[in-house]
C-alpha cells in the first residue's frame, strides 16, 4: 500500500512539473516577457519531450537500443500531414482534422513499430540498434522519392517526378518527393503540445507501474529468467516497442503541424535527430521518465539562451554522452561512488551522534 502511495506521489510530481512549466510559460507570454525566439521554441520543446519519454520506454524500460526513433517520427509526421492535406475539403475544421491526424499518425507509426518489431526484436543488443538505424534511413530514402497526387480519378503514385503522376486538370500533388508536403495548416499550439505531453506521460507512467510494465522490466533485467517464469517475451517487447513508436508518431504529427512545409531531410528526421533524443534520455537517466523531461527541456533551452555556445552544442552533447556513460556504467566508477556514499553516510552518522 505504501509503495503504491509513493508511486502516486512520484507521478504527481512529474505531472505537476509539466503543468507548472505550462503555467509559467503562459504567464510569461501573457505578460509579454517572452521573446519571440523562445515562443518559437515552445512547440518543439513539447515534441522533444514526447520523443524523449517515448524513447526512454524502449531504451530505459525495455533495455533495447533503438536508433530509428526519428524514423517513426517521420512516419507519423508524413501520415498525419498527408491526412490533413487529403481531408482539406472534406473536414473544414482545422482543429478536428488535426485531432484525427494525431490519431492516424500514432496508429500508422504504431503499425510500423509492430511490423519492424516482429522480425527485429528477435535480434539482440548491437544488431537491434543497427537495424533500427537502417530502418530510419530506409524510411527517409523512400519518402524522398515518393510522389503522390490526387485528381478526379483517385490517387496516383510515382517514384520519379510530378509529371509522371499523370494527373488531369483537377489534380493536386500531395507529396513532392524530396520537397515533401507543403501547406499543412499550422494547427499545433503550445497548449495542445502540453496536453499531448501529459497524455504521453499518462500512458508511459501507467504502463511502467502496471503488471505489463513489470513484465517488460523483468525482460530487461534478465531475459532468460523472465522467460522461465512464463513471461511472453515477444509479446511484451513488441508492446513496448509499438507504444514507443506510436508516441513518436504523435510527436511527428505535432512537428508536421508546426511547420508549413515538411520534408524528410537528414536534419529533421535523420540519424542525428535519433542521437539527439538518445542524449536526452541518457542524460536524464535511463528508465527515469522525469529525468528525460528535464534533460529535454534544459538541453533545448540552454543553447538558445547561451547564443555563443551554439557552435559547440553538438560537441557538448557528445562529451556529455561519453562522460555520463562512463560515470554511470563503468564498474570502477560505480565502486567509487559506493565508497563515496558510504563515507558520506558515516559522516552524517557521526554528526548526528555529536548533536545527540
Amino acid at each position: 500500500m505504501k509503495s503504491k502511495n509513493k508511486i502516486l506521489v512520484q507521478n504527481s510530481i512529474t505531472y505537476g512539473l509539466v503543468i507548472l512549466c505550462w503555467i509559467l510559460a503562459e504567464v510569461l507570454i501573457r505578460t509579454g516577457n517572452m521573446s519571440s525566439l523562445m515562443k518559437g521554441l515552445l512547440v518543439p520543446l513539447c515534441i522533444y519531450v514526447i520523443l524523449a519519454v517515448s524513447l526512454n520506454l524502449t531504451v530505459g524500460i525495455l533495455g533495447e537500443l533503438s536508433l530509428g526513433h526519428a524514423g517513426f517520427m517521420c512516419v507519423g509526421a508524413f501520415s498525419g500531414a498527408f491526412f490533413t492535406k487529403v481531408m482539406e475539403t472534406v473536414i473544414p475544421s482545422v482543429g478536428l482534422r488535426f485531432f484525427l491526424a494525431l490519431l492516424i499518425g500514432a496508429a500508422v507509426a504504431g503499425i510500423f513499430g509492430i511490423l519492424i518489431g516482429i522480425p527485429v526484436l528477435r535480434l539482440k543488443g548491437d544488431y537491434l540498434a543497427i537495424v533500427t538505424l537502417a530502418f530510419g534511413e530506409i524510411i527517409k530514402n523512400l519518402i524522398n522519392v515518393m510522389y503522390v497526387g490526387k485528381d478526379s480519378t483517385g490517387f496516383h503514385f510515382s517514384t520519379k517526378d510530378t509529371l509522371s503522376l499523370g494527373l488531369d486538370e483537377s489534380g493536386v500533388v500531395l507529396i513532392k518527393g524530396a520537397q515533401g508536403i507543403t501547406g499543412t495548416p499550422k494547427a499545433a499550439t503550445f497548449t495542445i503540445g502540453v496536453l499531448l505531453v501529459l497524455l504521453t506521460l499518462f500512458i508511459v507512467l501507467n504502463l511502467i507501474n502496471s503488471r505489463t510494465g513489470r513484465a517488460i522490466m523483468s525482460i530487461r533485467d534478465n531475459r532468460i529468467a523472465a522467460e522461465s517464469i512464463g513471461i511472453n517475451i515477444t509479446k511484451y517487447k513488441l508492446m513496448a516497442f509499438a507504444i514507443s513508436a506510436a508516441l513518436a508518431g504523435v510527436a511527428g504529427v505535432l512537428y508536421a503541424h508546426n511547420l508549413s512545409s515538411l520534408a524528410a531531410t537528414p536534419k529533421s528526421f535523420g540519424y542525428n535527430m535519433s542521437i539527439m533524443i538518445l542524449v536526452f534520455v541518457v542524460l536524464g537517466g535511463l528508465g527515469n521518465i522525469r529525468g528525460s523531461i528535464i534533460a529535454a527541456v534544459v538541453l533545448t533551452m540552454l543553447p538558445e539562451l547561451l547564443r555563443g555556445l551554439n557552435d559547440y552544442r553538438m560537441l557538448i552533447y557528445a562529451v556529455v554522452l561519453i562522460v555520463m556513460m562512463i560515470f554511470n556504467s563503468s564498474p570502477k566508477a560505480i565502486e567509487m561512488r559506493a565508497v563515496f556514499m558510504e563515507k558520506l553516510r558515516k559522516n552524517r552518522k557521526s554528526t548526528t551522534k555529536e548533536a545527540a
Binding site: 531504451v59 533495455g63 537500443l65 536508433l67 522480425p119 527485429v120 528477435r122 535480434l123 543488443g125 548491437d126 544488431y127 540498434a129 543497427i130 537495424v131 538505424l133 537502417a134 530502418f135 534511413e137 530506409i138 530514402n141 523512400l142 524522398n144 522519392v145 517514384t159 532468460i224 540519424y271 542521437i275 538518445l278 541518457v282 535511463l286 557552435d311 559547440y312 553538438m314 560537441l315 552533447y317 557528445a318 562529451v319 556529455v320 554522452l321 561519453i322 556513460m325 562512463i326 554511470n328 556504467s329 563503468s330 564498474p331 570502477k332 566508477a333
Partner: protein, 293 residues
C-alpha cells in the same frame, strides 16, 4: 560491357567496404563491442591526408603515412579513454559511448574544417586501363583499391595465423578468462586490435577519398555504417567473411544504383542487412554462438 564496368566499380567500392569491415569485425570479435566511431576514423584519415597533401603540399605517400600513424594513435587513445573504463559494463552502455565518440570526432572536425566539402586530390597516380578497344575503362584508383584490399587480406590472415600476437588475438576472442590464465595480456591485445583496425581505416580513408573526392566531416559515417552491414553480412568476427560481405555489398550497391534507382540504393543496401539478419543472423561465414544460462 557497361554491366562489366558497373561490376568492377562495385568490386572496387566493395573492397573499400571490406577494408573498413575488417576493423569492425576484428574489434567486435575481440572486444565484443560495436565500435561506432570506426567510420569517423576514416574521415579523420581523409582530413589528415588532405592537410598534408593539399595544405602543406607534401608528397601523397607522406600523407598516407601520417594518416596511418595518427589514426593508429587516435584509435588506441579512444580505446584507452572511452572504452576501457567500460569493460564489463552492459553492452548498451558501451554502444552509447561509442556513438558519443563518433559524434565527438564529427563535431571536432566540423569545428576545425567547417561543413563545406573539401576537394580531395587523389593520392593514387596510376594510369587507367583501356580494354576491348576502349569500350571498358578501368581507372587506376579502382585497380589500386582492389589490389590493396587483397594484399591487406592476405597479410592480415598471415599475421593472425603465424604470429604470437595474432594467436593471442584469437585466444582473447575465444575466451578472455582462459586467455588471461595462459598469460596473455588481454588489455594489450585489445589495444593492438584497435591499432590495426584504425590503421586500416586510415588506408580505407585514402582510397575512399581518392574514389569519391569530396571530403566533409560526415564522409565517414555512411561508409562506416555500410561497412558494418558488410561485416554482419559476411559473419561478424570472421576475416574472410568481412571480405566476402564487403565485396558483395559493394556490387549490390553499384548494380542497384545503375539499374534500379540511385536514390534508393542506400535503402536497398539496408534492406539487405535486414533480410540477412532475419534469415541467417550469423552471416555467411559466422559461427553460431550458443547462449549459456
Amino acid at each position: 560491357m557497361s554491366f562489366l564496368s558497373y561490376l568492377i566499380n562495385g568490386i572496387s567500392l566493395g573492397s573499400i567496404y571490406a577494408i573498413i569491415a575488417l576493423g569492425y569485425t576484428m574489434v567486435y570479435g575481440i572486444a565484443r563491442m560495436l565500435n561506432f566511431a570506426h567510420g569517423d576514423i576514416i574521415m579523420v584519415g581523409g582530413f589528415v591526408i588532405f592537410t598534408v597533401v593539399s595544405t602543406l603540399s607534401l608528397p601523397p605517400a607522406l600523407g598516407i603515412l601520417a594518416a596511418v600513424v595518427l589514426c593508429t594513435i587516435l584509435g588506441v587513445v579512444i580505446e584507452r579513454v572511452a572504452y576501457k573504463p567500460l569493460r564489463g559494463a552492459s553492452s548498451l552502455a558501451v554502444l552509447i559511448t561509442a556513438i558519443g565518440v563518433s559524434y565527438l570526432l564529427q563535431n571536432v572536425a566540423l569545428l576545425i574544417f567547417g561543413s563545406n566539402a573539401r576537394q580531395f586530390t587523389s593520392v593514387v597516380n596510376v594510369p587507367g586501363l583501356k580494354l576491348a578497344d576502349g569500350a571498358l575503362t578501368i581507372s587506376g584508383v579502382t585497380m589500386v583499391t582492389i589490389v590493396t584490399c587483397i594484399v591487406i587480406m592476405a597479410a592480415l590472415t598471415q599475421f593472425i595465423n603465424r604470429t604470437k600476437v595474432g594467436q593471442a588475438m584469437l585466444a582473447v576472442s575465444e575466451d578472455k578468462g582462459a586467455a588471461t590464465l595462459m598469460g596473455i595480456d588481454v588489455n594489450r591485445t585489445i589495444a593492438i586490435t584497435f591499432a590495426i583496425g584504425s590503421a586500416l581505416a586510415a588506408v580505407a580513408g585514402a582510397l575512399l577519398c581518392s574514389t569519391y573526392p569530396s571530403l566533409t566531416p560526415y564522409t565517414g559515417s555512411m561508409p562506416g555504417i555500410k561497412a558494418f552491414v558488410a561485416a554482419v553480412f559476411g559473419g561478424i568476427g570472421s576475416i574472410p567473411g568481412a571480405f566476402i560481405g564487403g565485396v558483395l555489398l559493394g556490387v549490390i550497391e553499384n548494380l542497384s544504383k545503375a539499374y534500379i534507382s540511385s536514390q534508393l540504393s542506400d535503402a536497398i543496401v539496408f534492406s539487405v542487412l535486414i533480410v540477412v539478419l532475419l534469415v541467417r543472423p550469423t552471416g555467411i561465414l559466422g559461427k553460431k554462438i550458443m547462449e549459456k544460462v
